[in-house]
């Protein structure tokens, strides 16, 4: 294997880094982040997922929640942050205290349709102790009949590109290059206009709100998660993992987008039947694709 500038850590070292990083929820990309959403405070939600998992959430206030795996089980308190991306679309994120390797959940709730998407993320996989792995699971909020449709993986963004401005001095171009991959251009830092790439997934929430989430597998291994509103051209999201400086982080951000164009999406792989299909997922009856 060729040399990497990002050192591998042992599981014990990762745990120590997590423990030392008490300011994990503070990042440098908060300038364009909207105010935290406080509307979950005082609410209880039961999230039923298509993989059979059910999570019970009680939001005590704007930044404290309790969750449990079963109605009768003991609950766990976590710090959380919530942001909205659209009138009925809420994003909240929390780490799972006490887990080793550290886990986190990024959840998008759609209050009008009661649909839910959660990224169950953890640090480390069979390739690297520092690379984030995640399961993307769809489901719904309990409260009436189970919805027939689900949020879904999508190729609708392929070919498009948006420049996201996180602060007056920090802009990144995201290129949604293929069903499996994205590229980004850093206009600002020591990369000096270089282009980098990462594997990713896209999830359609509604006709103008999408999740774009990537893992920097050729970099520090962190996961980026962006919930984008293409009407407002605003996103909210979070980074999770061990960053390039060896610090554990799970912090939220916001950015203003500028659409910079669409390349031709030839869809040759689909047209010629040579596409790599998405692996089977325990999804609901229908999807919004």
């Amino acid at each position: 294997m060729a040399k990497s500038i990002y050192p591998e850590f042992t599981a014990e070292e990762i745990d120590a880094i997590v423990k030392e990083s008490t300011e994990y929820n503070t990042g440098g990309l908060a300038a364009m982040r909207p105010p935290f959403y406080e509307g979950l405070a005082g609410k209880s939600l039961t999230l039923r997922y298509d993989n059979g998992v059910t999570l019970y959430y009680e939001f005590e206030d704007a930044h404290t929640l309790r969750w449990k795996n079963s109605e009768a089980g003991s609950s766990h308190a976590e710090y959380y942050e919530a942001l909205t991306a659209d009138d009925n679309v809420i994003f909240f994120v929390h780490t799972v205290a006490g887990t080793s390797p550290r886990q986190a959940r990024m959840t998008v709730l759609e209050t009008d349709t009661r649909l839910v998407t959660t990224f169950f993320a953890k640090i480390g996989n069979e390739i690297s102790t520092r690379e984030v792995d995640r399961d993307i699971v769809f489901g719904y909020i309990e409260g009436g009949e189970a919805p027939e449709v689900r949020h879904s993986l999508t190729t609708e963004l392929v070919g498009r590109s948006i420049v996201w401005t996180y602060s007056p001095s920090f802009s990144i171009q995201h290129i949604y290059a293929s069903k499996w991959y994205s590229a980004f251009v850093d206009f600002n830092t020591f990369y000096g206009g270089m282009l980098l790439s990462s594997p990713c997934n896209y999830v359609k929430i509604n006709d103008h709100v999408y999740i774009y989430s990537w893992v920097e597998t050729e970099g520090a291994g962190i996961q980026g998660f962006a919930l984008m509103n293409l009407f407002d051209m605003h996103d909210v999201g979070c980074f999770f993992g061990i960053n390039g400086s060896g610090r554990f982080e799970c912090y939220t951000f916001g950015a203003i987008g500028e659409y910079v164009g669409q390349l031709t999406n030839l869809d040759i792989p689909n047209d010629q039947g040579i596409d790599y299909p998405w692996p089977p997922m325990p999804i609901g009856e229908g999807s919004r694709e």
């Binding site: 293929s178 270089m194 792989p269």
Partner: protein, 283 residues
């Protein structure tokens, strides 16, 4: 790992090598010039057979006399040196008076390839002289690019005009069809880098990226070249005619299958659109 992610891991696929191992591999690959992307390569040009050119780089750089014996044999001699070297070469035409000439310097150590753009309309040349090995890795290609003039038959050469770095392509994207079953998309994302998406072939949907330089040859012919510094360390060179949307080029280095290669290719191109980002780069 969750199978919803399909990471392309070029640096993990890359085996580190010593300089000695690279030299031995070069020796063990006598068919270095035979690649598998020849289906859309134009016929070799014999335009230079029987002619003699001096490619003179600017700034007191290299000056190399080339005697083209026939369609595939040339003799080169560095100015000031008595040594002559006979090589196998390939020449391809991409525009009315613009050619690509490629040859490997036999028995050179580190193995050194030469890819030249010969612009007979302006009597200009751009030479990419690349040797195996960098301070980072013995298998990475170390590239030097020289701009200069072609001296031939006493024809005057331009005093100032040269092929030069360009941002004309920034934000654009082109698809390249090398074979019926091998197509890739190039995204000229920044003035200094490139991304490519495999549209057909092994790894469909995967994307790679690399540092890249772009040069303007004339108003419709461009040269670009990248080094795969995140992976195998190979060099790609593309000479594209945007009027006919065809390219020719070379690949050089050691691929992930551990074969040394320096071969020419050709591909049919198509315009895949552009992003409005050209003027955003302050460097």
């Amino acid at each position: 790992m969750n199978q919803l992610l399909r990471p392309y891991r070029p640096h993990r696929m890359t085996i580190e090598m010593t300089e000695q191992e690279v030299a031995e591999l070069v020796k063990a690959c006598p068919n270095y010039h035979i690649g598998d992307l020849v289906g859309r390569r134009p016929a070799f040009s014999t335009r230079f057979a029987g002619s003699e050119l001096v490619l003179r780089a600017d700034g007191g750089g290299t000056a190399i006399r080339h005697r083209f014996i026939d369609g595939h044999k040339l003799v080169w001699q560095e100015e000031g040196s008595p040594e002559e070297h006979e090589e196998y070469y390939e020449a391809l035409q991409i525009d009315k008076a613009i050619y690509l000439v490629a040859y490997l310097r036999k028995d050179s150590r580190p193995a050194t390839s030469v890819t030249c753009v010969l612009d007979l309309e302006m009597n200009l040349t751009t030479m990419i002289i690349s040797a195996m090995g960098t301070p980072q890795s013995a298998r990475y290609v170390n590239q030097r690019v020289y701009h200069g003039v072609i001296e031939r038959d006493g024809i005057p050469v331009p005093m100032a005009w040269r092929h030069h770095l360009t941002r004309d392509l920034v934000g654009k994207s082109m698809g390249w069809s090398y074979r019926d079953d091998m197509t890739s998309q190039h995204i000229f994302g920044t003035p200094y880098s490139i991304a490519w998406v495999i549209l057909q072939g092994p790894g469909t949907g995967l994307l790679g990226h690399a540092p890249c330089k772009y040069y303007k040859i004339n108003d419709h012919v461009y040269l670009y070249s990248w080094i795969e510094t995140l992976g195998s360390g190979q060099q790609g060179v593309v000479l594209v005619n945007t009027r006919i949307m065809h390219d020719v080029g070379t690949f050089y280095g050691i691929h992930h299958g551990q074969q040394f290669e320096f071969y020419t290719y050709g591909a049919r191109g198509f315009n895949l659109g552009s992003y409005d980002t050209k003027d955003r780069f302050k460097w």
